[in-house]
């Protein structure tokens, strides 16, 4: 009798140990009333992949325009390239937050948008012709900010800029650098898009596990990280001098073009709002999202209407950002208090998302033992 009991006991313990020895678990069937698989599918099929597709076609155009300009460096071709560069840069704001999968692997955001760009080093690279954009040390010499310098920052007038690509003693060096910049962006963009449309979409959507490696947890962390670091701090806080003694106008996004910094910020805020609400990239229909997930969890918890609070705060932040000068360099230099006010509203959003939303989702930040206190 005792042996039987002991046997049963050992069986239970063994079963228990084997049943839960996988900490980064494989996806399981879910059947509760909120379908995270559907949310992941809405994110990928209606937002992420369409946004990357749209961005990729801008980048293809940019690469073609770069070739045209380097073959025939005229003021007109420069202006065409510049306007396509701007379109692509704006479009980039819609995908920068999705640093997951291939994008994470190639460090997409760091390769495409680290600013301020390192002008001295760029000139050095052009002079020697010796550079490798795959090296992590080159992130501040490539991407859109480097193109910004090459298209807007070499000289004051367009005619003077074109001279760098025509009669400059190292015109070929400038042309090659410009071409490599464009091509690198295209290569990276292709890689990420192909990965999504290839197998990664299904892997991502199927990964509904609730562990730190689950797709919902990971993308939630990525989204908030992007909003806090790249959007709030990068676009507003750092230039406004929040993290330094004194303002840093040279750290404004698109520093050389100058008059598009506000447009880039507004596009990024819009992209964040739309993702939060699960809005289709190519239309107005909405699907499962952070908002519907919060609403679902609130039917259990009966607490404050968090999704409404977040959406309200998004509106306030957008309105504050709208009051800014189109050119943040001017804004910082003439009336920085408006930048600070804009930062404060974005900061409130960070608190709502990083504290309240993360608590509601019970998102895991990392895989370590912790007993919740």
């Amino acid at each position: 009798m005792k042996f039987l009991k002991l046997g049963i006991l050992l069986a239970i313990i063994t079963a228990a140990i084997t049943a839960c020895s996988s900490d980064n678990d494989s996806p399981e069937e879910t059947s509760d009333t909120f379908d995270r698989g559907a949310m992941l599918a809405n994110w990928t099929d209606n937002i992420i992949i369409p946004a990357y597709t749209s961005f990729n076609s801008r980048v293809v155009e940019m690469e073609t325009a770069t070739t045209t300009f380097t073959e025939t460096p005229t003021v007109e071709n420069l202006q065409t390239l510049r306007s396509i560069w701007k379109e692509a840069y704006v479009s980039f704001q819609n995908i920068s937050m999705f640093e997951i999968g291939k994008a994470e692997e190639v460090r997409f955001r760091n390769r495409l948008n680290v600013y301020p760009t390192n002008v001295a080093q760029i000139e050095d690279f052009i002079a020697t012709g010796n550079y490798d954009f795959d090296l992590p040390s080159t992130i501040d010499k490539q991407g859109f900010p480097a193109l910004d310098y090459m298209l807007n920052g070499l000289a004051v007038t367009d005619a003077e800029i074109v001279i760098f690509y025509t009669s400059n003693s190292n015109a070929d060096g400038y042309k090659n650098y410009l071409k490599t910049l464009s091509q690198t962006i295209l290569t990276l963009s292709n890689e990420v898009l192909i990965s999504w449309t290839g197998g990664y979409r299904d892997t991502f959507v199927a990964n509904t596990s609730s562990s730190a490696s689950g797709a919902v947890d990971k993308l939630t962390n990525d989204y908030i990280f992007y909003f806090e670091k790249a959007l709030r701090a990068g676009k507003v806080g750092i230039p406004a001098g929040i993290f330094s003694n004194g303002t840093l106008p040279q750290n404004v996004e698109a520093f050389y073009k100058k008059d598009i910094s506000k447009e880039l910020l507004l596009e990024a805020i819009n992209a964040s709002v739309n993702f939060f609400n699960g809005k289709n990239f190519n239309g107005n229909s909405k699907g499962a999202s952070f908002k519907t997930y919060l609403d679902y969890l609130n039917t259990i918890k009966n607490g404050e209407n968090l999704s409404a609070l977040i959406n309200d705060q998004f509106t306030i932040a957008k309105n504050k950002a709208n009051e800014l000068n189109v050119n943040f360099v001017e804004q910082v230099e003439t009336d920085n208090s408006k930048m600070l006010a804009s930062y404060d509203e974005l900061q409130r959003l960070v608190v709502l998302m990083k504290v309240d939303m993360v608590q509601a989702f019970d998102v895991t930040i990392d895989y370590v033992d912790a007993d919740g206190d």
């Binding site: 002991l6 918890k301 404050e304 007993d371 206190d373």
Partner: protein, 454 residues
């Protein structure tokens, strides 16, 4: 009354339960160390971070770069020696010291179960756990005993009983019982459990889990004590801890508790375990028994009992120290740790630090990721003693960089058990001027709500 007590302390019992406990505890500890190492956590938690959060009074306990591996190595080997009962007294002392050192290196990783292990380790230093079924006893028949004082076995039961009962008492509060918090937050996120995922979404299930959890903690020590309910109680122990293992990231704790509760069983059960292990290792079991035939272990000195009495009085009183602080315990966490408050609340926070020159008014914010790991930042942002220590670290760091008249302010928000986040630390208080102490931290802003109960 006094004679009853005197009589009790003269009672003897078989040494075998203590021996089995020693073997299983040592093995579990060895496995825990191996698991910790294999997960890469020594590197991640004790070598990579640039800054470590110290316990008040133990600021001198720090990781020692890659030599930290040696501490873990020593701890693992000591655990194995404990299991074998080889040079037991030295082994358990080394184990206790190395394990406690590890625990004290960074309070970011504070877990009640680490504290539990330190307590057991300390207790076991004073117990003759190598009297039976140990290498020590095998090699030296002088050290082999079949009987030990009954209180030695009971002391482990008492410690386990305190852990459970106090964990149960801590759950007697309005958030846990009447709002099913934090389980209402934690359980729905386990939607991907096979079969259980659906159940985890049901409010009635959250209440059922809350109430049965509290009831379990409060009653299990007694159910284990009485012979008639013991098997039933043990089945509950297994079910309860397996469930916590599935639901929460608490590592080895469930297994350690399951194994520890075996101490409540009769000697017959433990003899079977030792016979089974003997067979497995091809040890001559009869020789083991013969060696220690009918000898009774006697303590050479009589200071052991007073020491353990102090230990248990401390254990009984220390968790109540929170009563000395006026504010909500869950909010300020003054007296929260080392009190068996296990998986009791959900807190999320955000803290941003401002460095200000008090003369010129120049100021800037700190990017926490420059100094802290994500795990450290998460723990720091909800616990005031972390916030204070980090603020001092930042102040000293920037002073060393040449900044002058440094004042450090924190803007922070905390959400507790699903309530909306609210400001946590007074943003107008220069934290450089505040010192860590056991006194109440009056720079924590009020909670603006009440949680009733213990």
């Amino acid at each position: 009354m006094f004679t009853i007590v005197q009589k009790y302390f003269k009672k003897d019992t078989q040494a075998v339960p203590l021996a089995v406990f020693r073997v299983l505890f040592g093995l579990m500890m060895f496995l825990s160390i191996v698991r910790f190492w294999m997960n890469g956590w020594i590197e991640k938690l004790y070598i990579q971070p640039k800054f470590f959060f110290s316990y008040y009074g133990f600021e001198w306990v720090k990781p020692i770069e890659s030599y930290t591996y040696i501490i873990f190595g020593i701890c693992g080997i000591a655990a194995l020696f404990v299991a074998l009962g080889y040079k037991y007294r030295v082994a358990i002392i080394v184990f206790f010291l190395s394990f406690t050192y590890i625990e004290l290196m960074d309070k970011t990783t504070y877990l009640n179960h680490y504290y539990f292990i330190s307590c057991v380790g300390l207790l076991m230093i004073f117990l003759p756990a190598n009297a039976y079924f140990s290498v020590d006893a095998y090699k030296n028949p002088q050290k082999a005993f079949q009987m030990v004082p009954k209180w030695t076995v009971d002391s482990i039961k008492l410690l386990l009983g305190i852990v459970y009962f106090y964990a149960g008492l801590a759950k007697l509060n309005s958030d846990w019982l009447f709002n099913a918090m934090p389980l209402k937050i934690w359980l729905p996120s386990k939607y991907d459990l096979p079969f259980w995922g659906d159940l985890m979404q049901q409010p009635w299930a959250h209440y059922a889990f809350s109430w049965s959890g509290a009831l379990y903690d409060l009653t299990i020590p007694f159910l284990l004590l009485y012979k008639r309910t013991r098997w039933f109680a043990f089945a509950l122990v297994v079910i309860f801890h397996v469930m916590t293992r599935v639901l929460f990231p608490i590592g080895m704790f469930p297994y350690i508790m399951i194994v520890s509760t075996l101490i409540f069983f009769d000697t017959g059960f433990h003899s079977k375990v030792t016979r089974f292990i003997s067979k497995l290792l091809r040890i001559d079991y009869s020789k083991m028994v013969a060696l220690s035939q009918a000898k009774k272990y006697r303590f050479k000195t009589n200071i052991t009992l007073p020491i353990l009495a102090v230990f248990f009085v401390f254990q009984l009183l220390f968790p109540w120290r929170y009563l000395a602080y006026p504010n909500e315990l869950f909010w300020t966490e003054e007296g929260y740790r080392f009190s068996w408050r296990v998986m009791l609340m959900e807190k999320a926070g955000y803290a941003q630090f401002k460095i200000k020159n008090t003369e010129t008014g120049e100021q800037f914010l700190v990017d926490n990721t420059d100094f802290l790991t994500p795990f450290q930042e998460k723990q720091m942002s909800t616990q005031p003693d972390f916030i204070l220590q980090y603020a001092h670290f930042l102040g000293e760091h920037f002073e060393a960089q040449g900044h002058e008249n440094v004042a450090v302010y924190a803007e922070s928000y905390v959400a507790l058990n699903g309530r909306l986040s609210q400001p946590y630390v007074d943003p107008n208080v220069d934290l450089m001027k505040q010192q860590e102490s056991f006194c109440r931290k009056d720079w924590i802003l009020p909670f603006n709500d009440t949680i009733k109960g213990l």
